[in-house]
Amino acid sequence: MARAALMDFDKALELFEPVIGLEVHVELNTMTKMFSSAPNPANSAFHVAEPNTLITPVCLGLPGSLPVVNGEAVRSSISLGLALGCEIAPSSRFARKNYFYPDLAKNYQISQYDEPIAFDGEVEVELENGRVFQVPIERAHMEEDAGKLTHVGGSTGRIQGAEYSLVDYNRAGVPLVEIVTRPIFGAEADAPALARAYVSTIRDIAISLGISEARMERGNLRCDANVSLRPRGQEKLGTRTETKNVNSFRSIERAVRYEIQRQAAILADGGSITQETRHWHEDTGTTSAGRPKSDADDYRYFPEPDLLPVVPSPELIEELRAALPEPPAARRRRLKGEWGFTDLDFQGVVNSDLLVEVTQTVAAGATPAAARKWWTGELARIANAQNVDAASLATPEHVAELAQLVDSGTLTDRLARQVLEGVIAGEGSPQQVVDARGLAVVSDDGALIAAIDEALASQPDVLAKIRDGKVQAAGAVIGAVMKAMQGKADAARVRELVLERATTD
């Protein structure tokens, strides 16, 4: 694939105004699926499952099967709609979106079309640089996820050229809320950062509501980014592209930036933009053309005759409104105070999109300082090196456990970093890694004393110096002991014991 020509970003902004629109799919973490009693793999309890084990006749679209709406998913959707500042429809309807694809068991998706459950909202989004945007929400509607295809054979991993494809219907019917923004104007050079911050805010909201695991690397939160450019001074919107497969915060920002630069180069060259979906490639940092998409795509929507309209009572809506958690901006102010962070420290957490992780790590028992240190330090460094989101590397529970192992003296910082490597490599919880790799600090004085006595015996000159009061000479012995203990000793304790052994007979 020929690499597309890109225009310098600043130059592109000089010539064109970027307009973005974002579609975010949030997988709800209800116990069961949107329309069946099958366990929901978007709930952590069922995340790990053999293919095609979380299914009922409904998930497979077997003849005769019928959907039934999951009431809990409706409640979650209403809560999400309210948190997005939306109106909740007194009556909304499901519709069938008809198209043939092997991951879609019924060859239609049950979605909402002209009557979404929530509409006309607004979300406050704050950027790293302090700019605050009100992002207009057009609608949030309920639908079901499709199954998952694995294409075997062929070089691309895509359906073209594959020898055969495997279908896993575990994901078929997972409850989704699709949140669609109106076109967002005025972000200018901040458009890529706004896209990223918007999705991060949606994630904050979903997590604070407790309605989704909201882990991007698991596909709990997925973003399609629409980008168009219009020449400065032009009223009419330009042709847009829709970039899919953007599965991390970093890539959202990069993908929007890339599309701005790519489209600018084409337009400046007198070309025109094809309305199409584009696939984001994490490895190359580029997008490639998917299928052409036009407004004339005909999904033959019609009201789903197997389901009744969703008519939430005003009491239910008010009950859910009263139970809404504080908005993300207010929560940030509160957390900063509770944790006693400086402006700089707190902004560091926010800017790394790690507020949720730090909050959850504190909730799991770590001190705020330790939680911040691990996430914005070691984990952020590794994430950066691997080009992934830090959140995908470890769970808050594991980080809290690690911090507690350090606090209790079981691990030194140095050992803890090795343990973290093991956790990231999937070797289990920190305690399991400690046990498996034998990384705990040796706190048995007997073992330390044996090593010290041996070191002192092999370095009689050092022993003499210590006895002469030249305490700093002990360093050489301490080094030898730490080496003998393979680093699994507390250096301060070793020092104490060396001085003690050197001055006794």
């Binding site: 679209g61 003849p63 008809n98 092997p102 019924k106 033959r300 009744l308």
Partner: protein, 510 residues
């Protein structure tokens, strides 16, 4: 012919309860009857011999152990192949589902099993319930027991014929535009389409979700009532099933009395378009009811004439979507084009080979009706007509308790007669379709034989939604009055199929 198979379901249930006949004996008698006449009738696509006898033995054993059962326990029943049955093939009359064994029971099937009834097998039908003659079955037509050269009605011709031929005391059917009532009309049997939502659709292979309803196919009104009492009720697996509890329909039959009942005759459905003998039997029935205290009122339902047009947009639209799942990926027939093919090509080849011409015709119609740019003109307009038809019913039921119509315009026509004329075939359902569009219940019961051809004629009653009991009241009253005039059930005058048993045996089964 064994005496057991001549019994109504209620009588047979009573004899089984009294210990005079065992369920195994009853089941075997019907299996024997199927073995001897179904070669000629072809009501069944699958006969569940071993399963039925095992289920019957189980019920006999449990009854001997003191378990309490309802009035139909131990009674065999035929099941329309549109309902999925665990462990039994379920094809909906289509090649595309040949050999598929569902892993679950439809709710009505589960309910009849739980009531101790014995599924005898699966009955023939027009493919995916599209038709009025069973000639669109991929497995060959069913023959009308009154005249084997004639159609048994459709789509549920198999269920109606099985009951009319005494192969089963009663059966389950499905009615989307008349598929229970029109076969009842042409076979001299009783068929009820309950209120939409009365019986769960879970496990009924969907034709048109907003029109489909499962109901009883029987020889008497009481049997239909007893079966509706078994299968009606809320099902959490079907969002469109009605949550409220139902009164006993059997009680309505036992209290049957038409004195003071206002019966409306729909002007638009009592016209010259109806065969003379069908119309005369209809008016004789009305006169009989009037003599026994009913009040007959003419009713204007101006929008009924548009019902058939609206129906043939709504039904294909929903069907085109409902039938999309038959793509060979997860179940059913798979046809791979020569030299392999992409998944799209395999889907297309499977659907091309698996669906019959009537199914393809309706999928194309429905796909077109739902297309962008045509939706408002077709599907949207049809939904408006539907609302108008509902309004006609509301206006009518403000004046009368039930409506009456001839069930269908003609008696059974010859096999092949209308096969190449879809519009003529569609017009069979002109009187039955309005009930499906409005979701109201309807019953068809025998009104006699048409003088000109000696074939059965049915009369249809319709009631407001949830007032199914009114149908059983009027239907049972008329049945009693007519049988008193006839000196017994109409089916006593049906030909004795034993000559065909002989013929079938000699020819080595048709």
């Amino acid at each position: 012919m064994s005496e057991i198979i001549r019994l109504t379901a209620a009588e047979l249930g009573a004899k089984i309860a009294a210990g005079e006949v065992s369920s195994v004996e009853a089941t075997r008698a019907h299996l024997d009857r199927i073995a001897s006449v179904d070669g000629a009738v072809h009501a069944f696509l699958h006969v569940n011999d071993e399963g039925a006898l095992a289920a019957a033995a189980d019920v006999d054993r449990r009854r001997a152990a003191g378990e309490a059962f309802g009035p139909l326990a131990g009674v065999p029943i035929a099941i329309k192949d549109v309902l999925v049955t665990e462990g039994m093939p379920s094809t909906a009359g289509s090649r595309i589902l040949e050999g598929w064994i569902p892993p679950y029971d439809a709710t009505p099937v589960r309910l009849v099993r739980e009531a101790g009834m014995i599924p005898l097998g699966k009955t023939n039908m027009d493919e995916f319930a599209m038709g009025s003659s069973t000639e669109h079955s991929a497995y060959g037509p069913t023959h009308n027991p009154w005249d084997l050269d004639r159609i048994p009605g459709g789509s549920g011709g198999g269920s109606a014929a099985s009951v009319a031929a005494f192969e089963a005391p009663l059966a389950l059917g499905s009615d989307t535009g008349g598929s229970i009532r029109q076969p009842a009309h042409v076979t001299g049997t009783v068929g009820v389409k309950p209120t939409y939502g009365a019986v769960s659709r879970y496990g009924s292979i969907a034709l048109a979700s907003s029109l489909d309803q499962i109901g009883p196919v029987t020889r008497t009104v009481l049997d239909a009532a007893l079966l509706q009492d078994v299968i009606a009720g809320h099902d959490p697996h079907d969002s469109t099933s009605i949550p409220e509890a139902w009164p006993s329909m059997a009680d309505a039959v036992r209290r049957a009395d038409v004195a003071g009942v206002r019966i409306g005759v729909v002007k638009q459905l009592d016209s010259g378009g109806v065969q003379a003998g069908v119309r005369s039997r209809f008016h004789e029935s009305l006169a009989l009811l009037e003599r026994n205290g009913a009040e007959i009122v003419e009713i204007d339902a101006p929008n009924f004439e548009y019902a058939i047009a609206a129906y043939y947009l709504i039904l294909p639209a929903e069907a085109s979507s409902n039938l999309a799942k038959f793509d060979s990926v997860r179940f059913g027939l798979r046809v791979t084009p020569e030299g392999g093919g992409t998944v799209e090509q395999v889907m297309a080849a499977s659907r091309e080979a698996g669906f019959g011409p009537e199914v393809k015709r309706r999928i194309i119609l429905g796909t077109y009706a739902l297309s962008a740019g045509y939706y408002d003109a077709y599907y949207g307009s049809a939904q408006k007509v539907r609302t108008l038809v509902q309004r006609d019913f509301e206006n009518a039921f403000a004046k009368v308790d039930v409506l009456a119509t001839p069930t269908a315009p003609t008696t059974a026509f010859k096999l092949g007669e209308k096969l190449d004329d879809p519009l003529a075939m569609y017009l069979n359902d002109v009187a039955t379709i309005p009930a499906n569009l409005a979701g109201v219940p309807g019953i068809s019961l025998p009104a006699g034989l048409a003088p000109e051809d000696g074939l059965p004629v049915g009369i249809q009653f319709l009631a407001p939604a949830r007032q199914d009991a009114r149908l059983y009241n009027v239907g049972a009253a008329l049945e009693r009055l007519l049988e008193a005039e006839w000196g017994g059930p109409l089916l006593n005058r049906a030909p004795d199929l034993s000559s065909h048993e002989m013929a079938a045996a000699e020819e080595g089964v048709i």
